[in-house]
Each structure stands twice: as C-alpha cells, then as structure tokens.
Subunit: 92 residues, 2 copies
C-alpha cells in the first residue's frame, strides 16, 4: 500500500449558470480590474489516499466524485494522481 | 491583446485548520471509503483575461488574488496561464 495524493477538480458544467463565478467577475470589475471576459468558480480537492496502485487510487477517487464530491447534474470532474504523497526511501 | 485562460488554485495554508476538508473526509468515511488519510478543500478559479502577454496576464492575476480571491492570512494561491483562451487564426 502506498499513499497517493489525488487532485480532483470539480467545475460547473459549461453552459450552465455559474453564480459564484459571475459574482467574482462583478467584484473584480468593481475593484477596477478590466478585461475579465469570464470567471468560472470550481472546487479543488486534494485527497491523500492509501491504495495499491495509481490506477486503483484513480478508480476510487472517481467513485468518490460520483457518490459525494461532484453534482452529476451540474458539475464535471477531473482526477489526477499527482504523486506519491509520502515516498519512503527505497530499501537498498 | 489576446485572451488568456488563467487557472488559479487557492488552497488552505498547510498547518491551518481546514474544516471543509475535514467535513468531506468524515463524509467519505461514513460512505465506506477507507484509507483516506487527508482531504484539503480549496477553490479552483478559471479566469479569461485580455492581456498583451502571458507575463502581463499572470501579473494581473496575482494582483487579483492579493486583492480579492485569496485570504492572505489563511490561504495560498498558485497561478498558471494555461493557454490562449481563443486563439484566432493567424492573418496571412
């Protein structure tokens, strides 16, 4: 078993209203930041997970997204197994 | 002027309490997902911004984070100028 750091991006689906993004865009405009064409606001989750392989870690993260982390109606998610979270020195 | 897509990750600073991450970790555990060592919950913002160069786009995104998007006391941010958001065909 190794510990994997998994990065999950949950973003509002393209074409659906993103009220949080719109609010941020409006606030940036009010602060004088010009030229902001669009803002999309999503979630970034970093999960440290014990698994036997990167593939198993990614598969379990996908199930987590389907069950809890992403709204299947309004959100998309992407999963990246970023690195071994804690890679012990190789034994000699 | 080109349109750049800038990805901004705002994450709770290491060592500070992350109640949202803890709540997600607890919910995953309740759903039967074992082996979750840690969850950190942050924000992912994708901003489309008109700028003269990637460097200028990154500099303006940094100011946006300092002024509005990240809490300087509790959060870290990272900026990546991901791509030209809409690359017109080069004129011949």
């Amino acid at each position: 078993m190794s510990l994997y750091a998994i990065e999950i991006r949950v973003t509002p689906r393209r074409g659906l209203l993103d009220p949080q993004g719109k609010a941020i865009q409006h606030a940036l405009d009010s602060l004088g930041f010009a030229g902001v064409a669009e803002v999309r606001a999503g979630k970034l989750l970093v999960i440290e997970l014990e698994a036997d392989s990167p593939d198993e870690a990614a598969a379990r993260a996908t199930r987590m997204c389907e069950k809890l982390l992403a709204n299947p109606v309004t959100e998309d998610f992407a999963i990246e197994v970023a690195r071994d979270a804690a890679q012990p020195e190789a034994a000699t």
